[in-house]
């Protein structure tokens, strides 16, 4: 089993503690000038999102968590699981609601997502930074109002609701930033 010594601890390193995968957020040295050094580590539980602190005597090791990020294509949702496929190996995994968090509302199919796998099981799904989706419902557009401010809600084909400029029409394809949930532009064919 792979492990890391405290002097390898740094932000982003994945450790297995009490059977759960954790991500190191911060590692601080606690060391008297003459005396034993300790590492106080702040970690996020990748299953629950909870942040904990743990101290290690310097020189100790902790088990590495088999966590990796893989780019996978969203295939379909069967009502319980969202299925993703590795385009290189064609391997398929099913992510439950906990791993999907907010990702589901941006996905209609074929999007390349980053799936964080722990021992092969999805822990977290991150949608692409930008998605292109068709407006399925919004108030009628205001012609010529391309320069003015003001927004209205628009429902997209994936189910997400975003604020869009007043000139946007039903049926148009929009580019949206999934990190902020904000409208970016219209997509012209």
């Amino acid at each position: 089993m792979a492990s890391y010594s405290t002097n390898e601890f740094r932000g982003g390193l994945k450790l297995l503690l009490d059977g759960d995968p954790y991500n190191i957020i911060e590692n601080e040295l606690v060391k008297p000038g003459k005396g034993q050094a300790f590492n106080r580590v702040k970690l996020r539980n990748l299953k629950t999102g909870r942040v904990i602190e743990r101290t290690f005597k310097s020189g100790e090791s902790a088990e590495a968590a088999d966590v990796m990020d893989v780019d996978m294509e969203f295939s379909y949702n069967d009502g319980e699981f969202w299925y993703f496929m590795d385009p290189n190996t064609y391997e398929q995994v099913g992510a439950g609601e906990a791993a999907m968090t907010d990702a589901a509302k941006w996905l209609k199919g074929q999007e390349l997502c980053t799936v964080t796998l722990w021992n092969g099981e999805p822990l977290l799904v991150s949608p692409p930074n930008f998605v292109e989706l068709t407006v399925t419902e919004t108030d009628p557009g205001l012609k010529g109002d391309t320069a003015q401010g003001g927004t209205k809600p628009a429902t997209l084909e994936s189910g997400a609701v975003v604020k869009v400029p007043l000139f946007i029409e039903q049926g148009e394809v929009l580019k949206v930033d999934t990190r902020s949930g904000e409208y970016v532009s219209r997509v012209k064919d």
Partner: protein
């Protein structure tokens, strides 16, 4: 290491801080010049180094000879003292491997000085005089209150209601548990000194006055390092430390002058290194011979200049007082 951002070539400290830093160094030199303490410079590279298993020396080579970068200029300064230098001080860079964090940089600036005929209490007076002088010279009101002085034993009794000179490892552990102090992963449960170090940083130092200096003196004899053991109470050694709040700033000794005692401590520490799976280091025979030739009765102290700057300027990261922090080196 690849640059993290496009501005990482620039200093990690502001120019206001660097100007203050220059004034601090001038102030330190002026203080010692007024008192006829000689400024010295000694080698950074040495064939020998400190045996302390908690300090990791960097090493390099001159052709095929192994040389260590000094973790403190102590051994060279003691050779000067034994040769008749009289009072001396040094401002220099020192190097410690695997020490990096909010309060640690692998290379840092140290002010170290020695006073003949002073015991550790007189040297604490001398430190207070320096701090007051710098405070006045730099116009930073740090010395509004007189630094508190308390023994290591008293500090533990006040903060944790336990006698650090008598308590067993198990009793020290029980105190940690009662006080809700986390027990670190990998703690050597039977190692009294490890418990004392841990309780000092987690339970005792946090009880010191926040915006002020505290001196702690007479450390357990098991943590004597290069200090002489008390003649009145062999359980303690005449070692002291200076804190600002809970931040450790300086470490000093009423210096051990007994060469045989010093040799046996070095050998014991090298043995501890081997037990911990570390490489033993070359013992400084020149320094031991100097002690044998006669180190005058003296006390010495080393203070971290960068941490002192952090205190004077209310900075929370050591990188904020360094022209270029390790990450930008």
């Amino acid at each position: 290491m690849s640059p993290e951002s496009k501005t990482d070539w620039q200093p990690s400290a502001s120019f206001e801080v660097l100007q203050f830093r220059a004034r601090l160094l001038q102030g330190i030199r002026a203080f010692f010049a007024e008192q006829d303490v000689l400024e010295v410079e000694t080698p950074v590279l040495s064939r020998a180094t400190i045996t302390d298993p908690h300090l990791q020396s960097f090493s390099t080579q001159y052709l095929s000879d192994r040389l260590y970068l000094q973790t403190s200029p102590e051994f060279f300064m003691k050779r000067l003292l034994a040769s008749g230098s009289g009072d001396i001080f040094q401002l220099c860079r020192v190097f410690r491997d695997d020490e990096l964090g909010r309060y640690h940089n692998p290379e840092f600036s140290m002010l170290e000085w020695y006073r003949l005929g002073m015991d550790h209490h007189l040297l604490m007076d001398d430190m207070e005089a320096l701090l007051n002088y710098l405070s006045g010279k730099l116009g930073v009101p740090i010395s509004g209150q007189i630094p508190r002085r308390l023994s290591y034993q008293q500090a533990f009794v006040e903060a944790l209601d336990i006698d650090p000179l008598a308590a067993s490892a198990g009793e020290l552990k029980a105190v940690a548990q009662q006080r809700g102090i986390e027990i670190p992963v990998g703690m050597d449960e039977l190692d009294r000194d490890m418990w004392l170090d841990w309780l000092m940083t987690q339970g005792v130092a946090p009880s010191f006055v926040k915006q002020g200096f505290t001196f702690v003196f007479d450390y357990p004899a098991s943590q004597a390092a290069l200090a002489r053991v008390s003649e009145d109470d062999p359980r303690v050694a005449h070692r002291f430390e200076l804190f600002w709040g809970e931040l450790e700033l300086a470490n000093g000794f009423y210096e051990l002058t007994d060469a045989e005692e010093q040799r046996s401590r070095f050998e014991q520490e090298n043995q501890q290194r081997i037990e911990r799976g570390m490489e033993p280091v070359t013992i400084d025979e020149y320094m031991l011979t100097a002690l044998g030739a006669g180190l005058p009765d003296c006390s010495g102290v080393a203070i971290g200049v960068d941490r002192l700057l952090m205190v004077l300027l209310s900075k929370t990261l050591i990188s904020e007082v360094l022209a270029f922090s390790f990450q930008r080196s």
